[in-house]
């Protein structure tokens, strides 16, 4: 699987139509590509360039800024362990060492069976629940060595199959704007009036 599937192209066109300029849809389409293949393939970036009217180099320039877009295959489950201040104080370093030992890989590596990729991450905004981690961007709080092992056991046994979707899945439910509810995109240059609040037309 490389370029976007027919179904995803249809979705991509709908997403593009939400924006005044096609290029604005670059990042949502990259998510779509990552959802499709688990990572962003070169072919998908070329395809996105064609869809939004940009060169592949421009799409790649945009995509490569974002840590969460992967350009190489990652495991089915991506575990990001937070290493920023609160988590570090609450034992994130020890947790990482434990995780490396348990999985037999280094940070950034993937288990040979392709199931789990381990990564160190910056603050995940759950300081009160430190140390924390995310599995495919789903939270696990106050993680200890023991419940890390339980988590890995569950991932390996497939017990979390329904709860944690495959890497790249952004939302369990696809956002869909029915045609009659869509506002329609107005290009900035076509806007003739200022916003209502600026003209004092609408009560705040």
């Amino acid at each position: 699987m490389a370029r976007l599937t027919e179904e995803n192209v249809r979705l991509a066109r709908e997403i593009i139509s939400r924006y005044p300029k096609p290029r604005s849809a670059t990042i949502p389409l990259l998510h779509l590509a990552q959802e499709q293949d688990g990572f962003v393939t070169n072919e998908a970036m070329e395809h996105i360039g064609e869809l939004v009217g940009a060169t592949s180099a421009e799409v790649y320039g945009t995509a490569s800024f974002y840590e969460m877009f992967k350009f190489e295959p990652v495991g089915k489950y991506l575990i990001n362990i937070c290493g920023t201040m609160s988590c570090a104080l609450m034992g994130a370093e020890e947790l990482m060492h434990h995780a490396e030992a348990r999985l037999g890989i280094h940070m950034g590596g993937t288990t040979p069976d392709g199931l789990i990729t381990l990564e160190r991450a910056e603050c995940q905004a759950a300081c009160t629940e430190a140390p924390c981690l995310q599995v495919n961007y789903r939270y696990r709080f106050r993680v200890t060595a023991e419940n890390f092992d339980t988590l890995v056991d569950q991932l390996q046994s497939g017990a979390l199959e329904g709860e944690i979707p495959a890497h790249g899945t952004v939302a369990a439910v696809r956002q869909h704007i029915p045609a009659d509810k869509a506002v329609g995109a107005i290009a900035p240059e076509d806007v003739t009036e200022g916003p209502a609040w600026l003209d004092g037309k609408a009560a705040l």
Binding site: N42, T55, A57, S64
Partner: protein, 789 residues
């Protein structure tokens, strides 16, 4: 942050300028214009502010922060980047305070923290803005003791450009150029953050026709050009300012050489012409001047092979033939590759001999009556109004003119109306772009201009018609008819003729224009019929350049005696009886005329190869030998004669030499002979109309003898619409048979939606099977059958 677009304000200066403001820079009052940037105003006032990312021909980005200055604010002095801050009336700017100095030193120290100090092995060393400004504005010492970053170095981001990421200071000049100026955003900042680097998409090289400019504007040694890498140090180079004659745009360049070998061309900013840009073909074809294959001595044919001869023997052989030939039986083809002086002396010789058969074009341009319309300049076309494109793809033929028009359309100064038989590099920028089959361009243009919105647009301002030969398999009469249609609707329109050969307009203006309507095709036909006793090829290679290959072959074969004056033994020169080696570009002084009629100088930088001579010298000597002494011994003599004989060339050559921008000469207006375009026959639905158009890189002698660009030609192929491809029943890349009544050839097939249905686009003069076998001069259009094999 404000984005500044001062393009709209540059035009139409009223007597009292409401945009005039006065600012103070370091205590001096400086006149400036609203919207102008502080750094630009300071440049004019000779107050140098250090900079890396700022480039006057590109939009400001404020990437490098080196140009910090202090301005008086309501709460005392404050630091601003002078490349992003517009001037304001009464603004007080200081560039010399201790705070500014500290800021400059600080930024430089930060830039140098990540920059390898490999100046001794860096090509940029000696002409490097970072090196220079580190000395002039830096602290002199760095506190950075840590390990510097390391990248693989260098990586080829295209066939011509190498990238050394360690040296890059992320000024955004190359990426901005690729996006804004060239319109080929194939390089971009990637891995933004701590590891930001300029990079192409994986396996998609920076294959832009303008990539060499990024090397020139790179303020460090991060981008280097393959042909110049490790060839010379800047202090070893000698240079003279000249004009590029690869095509007829006439870009200003400097020719740089070391040890009598040309090593580099760099673009020079000429405001009315090239804005400092060059195309890669013009930039890198200096290699052809240095080629080992250059002709170094006169060659005289004995039997089937050439033997070297002395100049006196060779010239005497030619002169004898000329003396014995019936006056009406001598013909001169070419002259567009030399200087005005070269062409003029040959025209003088031709006049003395009573030669009427002469043409500087190879049946691949337009009739000289194109000069009889009101003439436009590049600047006038780009200043405003409407531009009607009835031209070949300018990106392929006249790349820097493409850049100028692209910029004008992009900044919304002009609206482009394009009528063409396939999409061009400017189609995206066009306000209206319609596809019309070859032979129907005039009709399609008429229909388009009848549209009320288009008519209103034409009436709203100046109109420029950019006219050139878009399709070599279509009679030029169709283009001329389309020009007449446009002029008929917009009588105030001016014409910018885009004949592509370097000095074709100069050669036509100084006396090598066809007489009595007898153009190159007619001359070759006469020659084929045995009416030419002496055919002189003045840097012309009809066998490669004339679209009707059969005619060229018969013409050369039919001439009793052929003299070729050239830098290389071209296909046609190989059939000559005498070959005289000509001095190449960079080996002779003189003047040249660009497509708008602008006369600028070209200079000698190196010694001519072998015993080669400038064309004008050869003409002068031959004139002497045939008994018409012209009294010319020096170039100055030629120029004196030229300025007295040719109307409009009264400009003294010193005036041209000292003026970077040259002088636009309005030579005598040729008479417009009414042309009747043979209506194109209707195409059979199973046939394709042939569109034979040029690519930037082809088998032109200057390209194939320059190793850096020789391999960049796309190769012969036939490109049709994807649906047509399906109809033909072939796959992309498969070979198909392209045939008509005249001949049949086999070509690989490509598909593109840029080609309308029923049209087959074939690039001209590419390595591979020769489509010219299917073309016969004088046919209105060429239709071909395409069959899968």
């Amino acid at each position: 942050m404000t984005t500044i677009d001062n393009s709209a304000e540059v035009e139409n200066t009223p007597p009292v300028d409401p945009n005039a403001v006065t600012i103070t820079i370091n205590g001096r009052a400086v006149a400036a214009r609203k919207g102008e940037l502080i750094i630009a105003a300071a440049d004019r006032a000779n107050e140098y502010i250090p900079r890396f990312c700022y480039h006057p021909r590109m939009s400001p980005v404020g990437m490098c922060r080196q140009c910090l200055v202090e301005i008086e604010g309501p709460r005392g002095p404050m630091m601003v980047v002078s490349c992003m801050t517009p001037v304001a009336d009464g603004q007080v700017v200081r560039t010399d305070t201790p705070q500014v100095k500290r800021a400059h030193e600080g930024i430089l120290e930060l830039l140098l923290a990540n920059h390898p100090l490999d100046c001794p092995v860096c090509d940029k060393g000696g002409e490097c803005p970072l090196q220079d400004q580190a000395f002039s504005h830096g602290a002199g010492e760095s506190r950075f003791v840590e390990e510097k970053r390391h990248y693989e170095k260098p990586i080829a981001i295209s066939d011509l450009v190498f990238l050394d990421r360690e040296r890059c200071i992320l000024c955004d000049r190359c990426t901005r150029f690729a996006d804004e100026v060239a319109g080929d955003p194939l390089i971009s900042f990637t891995q933004r953050g701590n590891n930001t680097q300029v990079m192409t998409f994986p396996n998609e090289p920076f294959a832009s026709y303008f990539s060499g400019n990024t090397v020139q504007i790179c303020p460090v040694g991060a981008l280097t050009a393959q042909p110049y890498r490790f060839k010379a140090r800047p202090w070893d180079l000698e240079q003279r300012e000249s004009t590029c004659t690869t095509c007829s745009v006439g870009c200003r360049t400097v020719v740089q050489s070391s040890r009598d070998e040309i090593l580099r061309y760099q673009g020079v900013d000429s405001d009315p012409v090239n804005w400092g840009w060059l195309c890669d073909r013009g930039r890198f074809n200096f290699q052809s001047v240095n080629s080992e294959d250059r002709l170094v001595s006169p060659q005289v044919k004995s039997g089937d092979s050439f033997t070297s001869a002395s100049w006196s023997d060779a010239l005497e052989t030619v002169a004898r033939t000329m003396r014995l030939a019936t006056p009406g039986s001598i013909a001169i083809l070419g002259g567009a590759r030399g200087t005005n002086e070269d062409a003029f002396m040959w025209a003088t010789l031709a006049d003395a001999l009573g030669v009427t058969m002469r043409d500087a074009q190879m049946d691949d341009g337009l009739p000289t009556s194109i000069f009889s319309y009101t003439q436009a300049t590049i600047d006038s076309a780009c200043a405003g109004g409407t531009v009607i494109l009835l031209a070949p793809d300018l990106k392929e033929e006249l790349p820097v003119l493409h850049l100028r028009l692209r910029d004008a359309a992009d900044k919304k100064r002009i609206r482009i109306i394009e009528v063409s038989s396939h999409e061009s590099g400017l189609t995206k920028q066009a306000w209206r772009s319609v596809r019309a089959e070859s032979g129907t361009i005039a009709t399609a243009l008429g229909a388009l201009l009848a549209d009320s919105e288009v008519a209103a647009q034409l009436a709203s301002g100046p109109v420029t018609i950019v006219a050139g030969r878009a399709n070599l398999a279509e009679s030029s009469a169709h283009t001329m008819a389309a020009v007449d249609v446009a002029v008929g609707v917009a009588s105030h329109a001016a014409v910018l003729p885009v004949l592509r050969r370097g000095n074709v307009r100069g050669a036509l203006s100084v006396g090598l224009a066809p007489q009595n309507g007898k153009d190159a095709a007619a001359i070759l036909e006469a020659s084929a019929n045995g009416h030419v006793e002496c055919l002189i090829l003045l840097g012309a290679d009809p066998m490669s350049d004339v679209a009707d290959a059969d005619l060229a072959r018969r013409g050369i074969a039919g001439a009793k005696f052929v003299v070729a004056i050239d830098t290389f033994l071209t296909q046609s020169a190989a059939h000559a009886d005498v070959v005289l080696p000509a001095a190449a570009y960079g080996e002779k002084d003189g003047t040249t005329m660009n497509l708008e009629g602008r006369v600028t100088n070209v200079v000698q930088k190196i010694t001519p190869r072998g015993t080669s001579r400038a064309d004008w010298m050869i003409a002068a000597e031959l004139a002497d030998l045939v008994g018409h002494d012209t009294g010319v011994t020096t170039l100055a003599d030629v120029q004196k004669l030229l300025s007295s004989r040719v109307p409009g060339f009264g400009v003294t050559t010193t005036a041209v030499a000292i003026k970077r921008d040259g002088v636009v000469v309005s030579a005598g207006t040729p008479v417009r002979t009414p042309l009747s375009a043979t209506p194109a026959p209707t195409r059979n639905s199973y046939e394709f109309r042939l569109d034979l158009s040029r690519k930037l890189y082809d088998r032109a002698v200057g390209t194939i003898t320059s190793p850096a660009i020789a391999e960049l030609s796309v190769g012969a192929s036939v490109c049709i619409h994807p649906l047509d491809l399906e109809r033909v029943g072939a796959a992309v890349g498969a070979t198909v048979r392209v045939s008509n009544n005249h001949s049949s050839i086999v070509l690989p097939v490509a598909a593109s939606a840029a080609v309308p249905r029923g049209t087959a686009v074939v690039p001209f003069n590419q390595p591979g099977a020769d489509i010219r076998e299917l073309i016969r001069h004088g046919e209105s259009v060429v239709d071909v059958r395409i069959e899968s094999m």
